[in-house]
Symmetry: C2
Subunit: 135 residues, 2 copies
DNA sequence: TATAACCCTAGAGTGCAGTCTAAGGTCAAT
DNA sequence: ATTGACCTTAGACTGCACTCTAGGGTTATA
């Protein structure tokens, strides 16, 4: 069990951010010490790791909230809804994957065109690098 | 050459967004019609396509601005700086790529655990799905 | 020729995601 | 016992990326 400052340092976010996430339901208010200090578990650490990762790839806190609330159980009723929601998210994720691969390739083209040795550096911009990608 | 409304419809953004991007230097103010209407070229279309794609995968407008300004020329002096900047960006892009793959896998695990047929739907959350990923 | 559907500007307003401030309580070390 | 580093709350403030409003001009169609 760690205090907010420790978790903040570990996750490289501010204490305020962690309280903000709690206030907005991304991390459930858990244990408190005698003095009222928040105490975080290993699960909380993984949870905020997920939040940060998801944020980095362009999910909003709202979307992350929905992702974290997803839970497959034996409840037949909700199972269909979950499947639907998850598959919709997978589609979005696949689009992002494709987009980021495009960007990576164009950055790579740019990097390769640059100082590659003695051959003359060709004139090249991101947009030109992007256009060259025929796939 | 198309007017702002056409480009907005094509790129699925608002006219205001396009004017906003211009004001912030993401698209250079180009040709104007006799009446002062903005006129956009094919290059502008590709440009805003790039902006939108980059935004979707989590780049800020500021970062996108920097990416768009990158240009490899024969100027030896700036070449080193460009290489450095681009390679730093590639590192970030690679991290995002890894992160989005992680998220995709966990969503897939979640989807697979759900309504897979007659086998009992195992209890599964995003965090558990993430933990299962040993790679 | 007038009506709708477009375009312009400057500037105000909005929602998201924090970030900071004030005023105070707790804990470990000198 | 007091100093400093930590923790608490509520609420104000900030920066980003739009989004809207007001007040006006233009262009195509009935």
């Amino acid at each position: 069990m760690m205090k907010i400052g420790e978790l903040a340092a570990l996750a490289k976010v501010s204490r305020d951010t962690l309280r903000f996430y709690e206030k907005h339901g991304l991390i459930t208010p858990g244990l408190r010490s005698e003095a009222g200090y928040r105490l975080y578990s290993e699960t909380d650490v993984r949870r905020i790791g997920f939040i940060i990762g998801a944020k980095e790839v362009g999910f909003t806190l709202n979307e992350i909230h929905q992702l974290l609330e997803l839970e497959v159980t034996k409840d037949e009723k909700s199972c269909h809804d979950i499947k639907h929601f998850v598959d919709a998210k997978i589609t979005i994720v696949n689009q992002r994957l494709a987009e980021i691969k495009r960007i990576k390739k164009s950055l790579q083209t740019l990097s390769d065109a640059c100082c590659g040795g003695d051959e003359p550096a060709t004139h090249c911009t991101i947009l030109e690098a992007l256009s060259e990608q025929t796939n």
